[in-house]
């Protein structure tokens, strides 16, 4: 029996789904042998692309930085193993639009040689200040491993004016099929907890809450045992009801603490920082062992693979290699996605590499991916009942469809987390989330266009004003000159003549006086 004394809050909406987790979480995690070629995209996080530090033909050690992070919102990337850089080129990556991006292609030499690429370890993190640790977390290339890949060091950079009350660890893993956090919590609870302790040290908080959905009793038990063996009283394990999407950051914070992250804001504004267990483990390894983020747990699952399982994967390993490790495709394999069935990204090819964001490779069969023709919305409101953000999806759909974006924003379009609950329940089979993605993208590009137009207008107005000012100044100068000229013609001139005359008179008088004086002396 799992018991939590902790009071939990109820978040509106949500769905009970078919989870299919049992097909992949019964076997221990296997470390994947190296693929023939690793494809490491430079951009594996939210932010700007890091600067490339290697060239084609270079030999790199395992853990060696291949792109550096000097600059804002940049996170470095490291070589997942030792070997030679064979190419630096555009390769297809996991992207909703199927785009390509710059990747470093690494041919492993099979030695898995760290060389001296390890960062200097901090065995006792309590002796190190938070800022140094944050720099280490950034240098180790750590980003949010739940899928959002936001740079962890920035998330841990909290301001003193709002003290952080609680560090929330998101072990909910609410999407169907995915079990990699489940397996990580079962197999590496101590490393996770040590990472949590380091984060608590950095953000200076005395309370951490680890939320885990109650369909993972083994993970909960393992984590509770690890907390007990560490004698850690500041860390609390909370079993939360299984209800999609409780693993969404905002929703989990509400369930665990009753607090709501303000619309458009960040959890730190309500005194909370939220991280994923895999991130916590990566932080532990970066700080205490000096190892950068070069591998991760991920789930390979679905009816389209022969032996669904969890793997420990060097980043950059192509999906095809992972499928082979999971027994290859079955005859039913029809669709490939990175992530879960509710929010994952559809992949066109299995040559795409696993990256820091990859928690799951899902190969679906036909039944799971059937798409029915959409009927008109009958306003039944099931979408609104299921929405975890209390939005009115039927209204958002209406306004997105009619391109009434102002109205869509009034109906809080940007509070939509794209969890897919509304589209799941829709009896008319409308791809609702697509409409919201479309509307959001349109509004963003309109905003950008408007910002550009505003800037252009400001520049133009400034330009006009400058011309105007130049004219005005010229006119003023002219007027001043005229004014002066005028004064010259009247009294000024007379005065000047008078002065000149007087000066001449004085000169004469002086000369006369001098003569007299000379005469006197000569006389």
């Amino acid at each position: 029996m799992i018991q939590t004394l902790r009071k939990l809050w109820r978040n509106p909406g949500g769905l009970h789904l078919d989870y299919h987790k049992e097909i992949s979480n019964t076997k221990p995690v296997v470390h994947v042998p190296l693929a023939d070629e690793l494809i490491i995209p430079l951009q594996q996080h939210t932010g700007y692309k890091p600067t490339l530090t290697v060239a084609v033909g270079d030999y790199v050690y395992k853990g060696q930085e291949i792109a550096s992070h000097t600059g804002f919102m940049k996170v470095p990337v490291h070589a997942s193993t030792s070997g030679t850089i064979t190419a630096i080129e555009e390769r297809p990556i996991a992207h909703p639009s199927g785009l390509s991006d710059l990747c470093v292609v690494l041919k492993p030499d099979g030695k898995d040689d760290w060389g001296n690429a390890r960062l200097s370890p901090y065995p006792d993190y309590t002796q190190v200040d938070g800022e140094t640790l944050r720099l280490r977390i950034c240098a180790a290339g750590i980003v949010g491993m739940g899928g959002a890949v936001f740079p962890s060091a920035i998330k841990l950079n909290v301001h003193d004016n709002i003290p952080i009350e609680t560090l929330v660890i998101n072990g909910a893993e609410c999407e169907p099929y995915i079990t990699c956090d489940d397996m990580l919590m079962r197999e590496q609870p101590e490393e996770i907890l040590r990472g949590v302790q380091i984060m608590m040290h950095i953000i200076n908080t005395q309370h951490a809450l680890i939320g885990i959905e109650d369909n993972k009793p083994e993970a909960i038990a393992a984590m509770q045992a690890a907390v007990a063996s560490l004698g850690e009283r500041r860390i609390e394990i909370a079993a939360i009801p299984t209800l999609y999407p409780s693993g969404s950051e905002k929703q989990l914070i509400k369930i665990l603490t009753g607090k709501e992250v303000p619309s458009g804001g960040r959890p730190a504004q309500v005194g909370i920082v939220c991280h994923n267990p895999a991130t916590a483990r990566a932080i532990y390894r970066a700080v205490v062992l000096g190892e950068p983020l070069i591998d991760r747990y991920l789930t390979v699952t679905g009816k389209g693979v022969a032996e669904p399982c969890n793997l420990e994967v060097p980043l950059g390993t192509p999906v095809q290699h992972l499928i082979e490790q999971a027994g290859g495709y079955t005859a039913a394999a029809k669709r490939l996605a990175m992530g879960g069935p509710m929010m994952g990204i559809s992949l066109q090819s299995d040559q795409i590499p696993a990256v820091k964001a990859t928690n799951c490779i899902l190969v679906s069969d036909v039944a799971e991916t059937e798409q029915q023709t959409a009927l008109p919305c009958i306003r039944c409101g099931r979408c609104a009942e299921s929405c975890p953000a209390s939005l009115l999806p039927q209204q958002l759909y209406w306004y997105a469809r009619s391109r009434d974006f102002d109205k869509a924003e009034q109906y809080h379009l940007f509070d939509c987390i794209e969890c897919g609950c509304c589209a799941y329940v829709c009896p008319s089979h409308i791809k609702l989330v697509d409409y919201y993605r479309f509307a959001k993208a349109e509004i963003r590009s309109q905003r950008e266009a408007k910002a550009k137009a505003d800037l252009a207008r400001e520049r133009h107005e400034f330009h006009l004003e400058r011309i105007e000012r130049a004219k005005r100044e010229k006119a003023e100068k002219l007027a001043k000159h005229k004014e002066q000229a005028k004064t010259n013609t009247d009294d000024g001139k007379k005065a000047a003549i008078q002065a000149a005359l007087e000066r001449a008179k004085a000169k004469k008088a002086d000369a006369a006086a001098a003569q007299t004086a000379n005469g006197e002396t000569s006389a």
Partner: protein, 343 residues
């Protein structure tokens, strides 16, 4: 290996418009069976004619509007409209009355506004109201249900009545509905006790009609249990109707009928569970549903008691349909992370 791309979510639930509509039809069965028990072929002919006309008109309009016919015809929405109209119209209604009602419902109220999902008004109620205003005599002559003579009318006579205008003696067999009887007799300054004494009335309301209402209630509760409808609309509609009736009944029980009488008379139950709950034309926010249905209940009582018609569910529904956009706008739920609801 290459795959086709799609956008998430990749899984969907089992809900489907046609499934929902079919379940509404199942829920209509108990009340309809009671009606058939009292009116025999008269109700069966209503149903058959209405469904045939509705499907024909639906098919015609879809073809004219160049819409895919099969998915829309198989969504059962026209059948639901037809069924609701059929049980609301007097048994043995002439065929042309039903045909005309279906034209108003399917062609005007539904397709001219854009078809399924776009109609601001409840199609069945538009059909019903248009007929009630245009043909008040034909729409209010309900055959008397109690002596069961109508349940035993043969098919031949029923066909004659429906298609050939019927016999001269038909009028003698009709009776005012309980709501009508109460209204007319109250107008003659009788007390309710005197009115109830004529034997037409049962424990709750009209002796036959209370059982019909029970049938709708049963089906409605099943819909609630199946989660096809939420509790908001039935509870608010019946609640506000009962509240209004209760207040005036306590003031003077001889002039104002009891809440139970109102709940189990006329189209109150049918309206609360089947008509006001039509999702397309109803309010969609939880709070909005309460206002919307509460308004329908209140207007129903007002028109029943002081208005010109014995029953008023159709008019009340149409009136509140008009208010739905406004209600929805001002009853938006508080969105996660925002301070107050809008409006």
């Amino acid at each position: 290996m290459m795959f086709n791309k799609r956008t998430s979510p990749y899984v969907t639930g089992k809900q489907d418009v046609s499934v929902i509509m079919r379940q509404v039809l199942y829920a209509l069965v108990p009340g309809t069976l009671v009606l058939i028990w009292y009116f025999g072929w008269g109700m069966i002919s209503n149903l058959l004619l209405a469904i045939v006309f509705a499907e024909l008109l639906e098919w015609g309009m879809l073809t004219l509007r160049q819409r895919p016919v099969r998915p829309f015809l198989s969504d059962y929405s026209a059948v639901v409209t037809a069924w609701l109209l059929a049980v609301a119209m007097p048994a043995f209604a002439p065929w042309w009355l039903i045909a005309l009602a279906m034209v108003f419902a399917v062609v005007i109220a539904k397709h001219l506004y854009g078809g399924l999902g776009y109609n601001p008004f409840n199609p069945a109620m538009i059909g019903y109201a248009a007929m009630l205003v245009s043909y008040p005599v034909q729409m209010t002559i309900w055959p008397a249900p109690l002596d069961f003579s109508f349940a035993h009318i043969g098919l031949g006579q029923a066909v004659q009545q429906v298609f050939a205008g019927g016999s001269q003696s038909w009028d003698a067999l009709t009776a005012a509905t309980p709501l009508d009887a109460v209204k007319v007799n109250l107008g003659l300054h009788k007390t309710l006790n005197e009115i109830y004494a004529n034997g037409q009335f049962g424990l709750l309301a009209g002796q036959a009609w209370q059982w019909v209402s029970m049938g709708w209630l049963l089906g409605g509760l099943w819909l609630l249990w199946q989660r096809i409808i939420s509790w908001h609309i039935p509870v608010a509609l019946l609640g506000s109707l009962a509240l209004m009736a209760g207040i005036f009944w306590m003031i003077n029980p001889q002039v104002y009928a009891s809440p139970l009488f109102h709940l189990f008379s006329g189209a109150a139950m049918l309206g609360a569970f089947f008509i006001a709950t039509d999702p397309v034309s109803a309010s969609t926010t939880p709070l909005g549903k309460l206002y919307y249905a509460g308004g329908i209940g209140a207007f129903t009582y007002i028109i029943r008691t002081w208005g010109g018609y014995p029953d008023a569910v159709a008019f009340s529904v149409i009136m509140l349909n008009m208010a739905v956009p406004l209600i929805d706008y001002y009853t938006q739920p508080r969105v996660y992370g925002t301070k107050r609801q809008q409006g």
